[in-house]
Symmetry: C2
Subunit: 456 residues, 2 copies
């Protein structure tokens, strides 16, 4: 029985019968099967997702199913079926005219995570094809596209121009014209209001569907763990990573997942223009140690997956050379030029959007930084205008927070722990107080948290 025929049949009916040899499902029978802990078949999952994205299966049946999944979970086979059903829910861009292996990277999200810009240029310099579709952010700071906006880049590329740039220069970033994997978007919105977000198989399939939809052959995942991450414990982060690696195995996409610490913001900058500066500084050999290390770790896995090196050590040496000899910075300049951005900002950071005021924040007491509440720092940046509370909010690319002190650093009561870049002073006093509260300062000197935890 061909897949095509099943698809046709299930779209034409919502009743459960067995006519002409076709298997026909109902949403209710699929809910019950999952409720009772049975493994769902590919056909059941396809029926559910295609029916839901076409509006034939209502939200109220989907949310009951999601809650059953919350409790009963899904095995790797089911999770892979769900992932691919979501991939098929939208019209994919045909990237077959880009030769070679397309490696993508995804981070599960943290505060101050400006890595994409530096990493994309770095691995492109090492010969990895970077054909990236990105979105705008919602939350503490902007997404990759918002950061490129701060550089004046145009990401409104035609598919032809996008493919041409990747083929010619090895790197291009395109704004999402439509939603990646529309069924995923619809499901995510429903999960958000029905208490069904925190489900490993649902999170894993959501991330993987977007990456595969965007054309990735191989994927490097940066799964954050710690107080500033969605996965608070390393155990949960590992479980999520394993679920995504398992999906990759099922659907023939090699996946490497790195568990990394998000016990404090990555690097020092939290905002947009200031994060871009930090990314540029990283390719200029002046980046923060943690950001540089994460770029090299994720990058070396990408280089190996792309077949440009045999071992991570070899790949790492290639990447270090690309920073050392300026080729990574050159690739970034080429990328910015291609997409009509302020490429001179690479040499002169003052060309980036500048805030009207620079406001220091003090610790108020002396000692050692023992903890930084990354989520609170992110929230402060959003209050200054660096992020969006709702989809309609406008981002101010110039504003943000650059930390001066991180975990393990010694602070004096009268020395700044952070600098605010401010255009609208309305919330500055609140932000100063909240930022001071986000720091835990004590007598004892503690070691900074280890950044790279393990590879799954």
């Amino acid at each position: 029985m061909s897949q095509k025929l099943i698809q046709t049949e299930i779209q034409s009916t919502t009743t459960n019968s067995n006519r002409n040899g076709f298997i026909v499902f109902t949403a209710e029978s699929i809910i019950r099967n999952k409720r009772d802990g049975h493994e769902l078949s590919k056909e059941e999952i396809d029926f559910l997702i295609s029916g839901y994205s076409q509006g034939n299966i209502p939200d109220y049946q989907m949310s009951a199913w999601l809650m059953a999944v919350y409790y009963k979970g899904m095995n790797p086979r089911e999770t892979a079926h769900l992932t691919m059903a979501m991939v098929r829910s939208g019209e994919q861009l045909d990237l077959s005219s880009i030769p070679g292996i397309k490696v993508d990277k995804h981070s599960t999200g943290g505060v101050g995570d400006k890595i994409t810009l530096a990493l994309a240029a770095l691995v492109a310099a090492a010969g990895v094809k970077v054909a990236k579709m990105s979105g705008r952010g919602l939350g503490h700071t902007g997404g990759t596209i918002d950061k490129l906006d701060a550089l004046g880049l145009s990401t409104d590329l035609s598919p032809e121009r996008f493919i041409e740039l990747v083929n010619r220069t090895g790197i291009a970033v395109m704004g999402q014209t439509a939603d990646l994997a529309p069924a995923d978007k619809k499901l995510y919105a429903l999960r958000d209001v029905t208490g069904t977000v925190e489900s490993i198989p649902l999170i894993a399939s959501s991330i993987m569907s977007k990456k595969i939809f965007a054309g990735a052959d191989k994927i490097v995942l940066d799964v954050k763990t710690g107080s500033g991450a969605f996965m608070k414990t390393e155990k949960d982060a590992v479980e999520l990573a394993e679920a995504m690696v398992a999906i990759g195995k099922e659907v023939g996409r090699e996946v490497v997942a790195i568990i990394t610490s998000m016990e404090q913001p990555l690097g020092y900058a939290v905002g947009n223009a200031n994060e871009v500066m930090e990314a540029i500084e990283t390719l200029r050999k002046n980046g923060p140690a943690d950001l540089t290390e994460l770029c090299l770790t994720l990058g070396s896995h990408m280089v190996v997956l792309a077949g440009k090196a045999n071992t991570e050590a070899e790949a790492r040496a290639i990447l270090e050379r690309c920073i050392e000899d300026g080729s990574a910075l050159g690739k970034l300049k080429e990328f910015i030029t291609n997409q009509h951005g302020i490429s001179d900002a690479i040499l002169d950071l003052t060309l980036l959007p500048q805030a009207a005021q620079v406001v220091p924040v003090f610790a108020g007491k002396s000692g050692y930084v023992q903890a930084i509440d990354a989520e609170a720092v992110g929230h402060c940046a959003m209050l200054l205008g660096a992020g969006r509370e709702t989809k309609e909010d406008e981002i101010d690319h110039a504003v943000g927070i650059t930390l001066t002190k991180k975990i393990g650093d010694q602070v004096a009561a009268d020395a700044p722990i952070a600098t605010l870049y401010v255009n609208n002073t309305e919330k500055v006093e609140d932000v100063k107080r909240m930022l001071t509260d986000a720091y835990t300062i004590g007598e004892e000197r503690i070691a900074p948290p280890e950044l790279i935890r393990r590879v799954v």
Copy 2:
């Protein structure tokens, strides 16, 4: 903080905040609380049910919550809050002008369960006030109102007339003008398509809300168990009974639940007119033993709850006397006369609707009846026109099935096991075959199942 104020506040917002000292919830936070196994407060349950019945909380949040309840259950306090929230969702009829204790009876539904008519007249004869609101049936045979239709009774009474009849004669049955407990109806329809029907606290609160809404002070429950019942095992039936007794305790309504067998149809008749005949015969001392026994058992509990006797034995003696001396039959006649039905049918059963054809069904083999698939018998009656497959279907009151043989009876291959009363012959051959298949006949004589299992 007054209940009224909370109600007002929660209706005016869907965001979670704590302003002016009011407690404000969101549907999502309530879903999460239940999902994580926490006990929900009265305020949370009221918010959910009032929001849902007013259309402020969408189906998709409610179905996620229902699935969480399916897995996590609800304790007696929560189940009682849910029950009363559903009771408050509709406009109740004010029965305060009927003095005395109002005792109602509810059966969880079985095949051939014509007990209401006989029981109502019987306990009314014993001085119990019967102020009953009833509905039409969906499924194998009609509901109580459909059976009264077969007697030509008008149940379209004004509230004033209903109350006057109860006060003057002790018995009246009124068709539901609107839905009993509208939130329950809306919830039930949602459960039906989201795999969340089979939840003891949801079933218990649904039944109890309808009874309390209809004005019952005390309630006798007939919880059916066995192959022909919704609760297939005695364990499940007891659990449901205990949940309803617990709700009663929480909300100050005394509840007695009797677990009874539904391993085969109750009595012999499955239909409408034929079930009415059997109910009349029961009050004429010619009823089937099981039906008579169930009337006396349920009735004696009702009489005790109504304060008309001190013990069940005493109550049973009163009821036996009411049958013996014809006062129960007289009360039935008075009831039918009051509501303009064919009261002479009590003495002359041929005045009831008669089918055009009487078709015998044979066993096809000799032996003893070892089992009767009650659900299959009910389905056969529906196919003949005695029940409704959809709400729009018209019932034919004259048609149905009257069994000749029940479990433990000896049958000969050429003697009928049942009689069909038929107007439309289209499905007769199918029904005959299905009915024969519904009987298990074997060599060994087995004892009929015990009817009354236990009192909870």
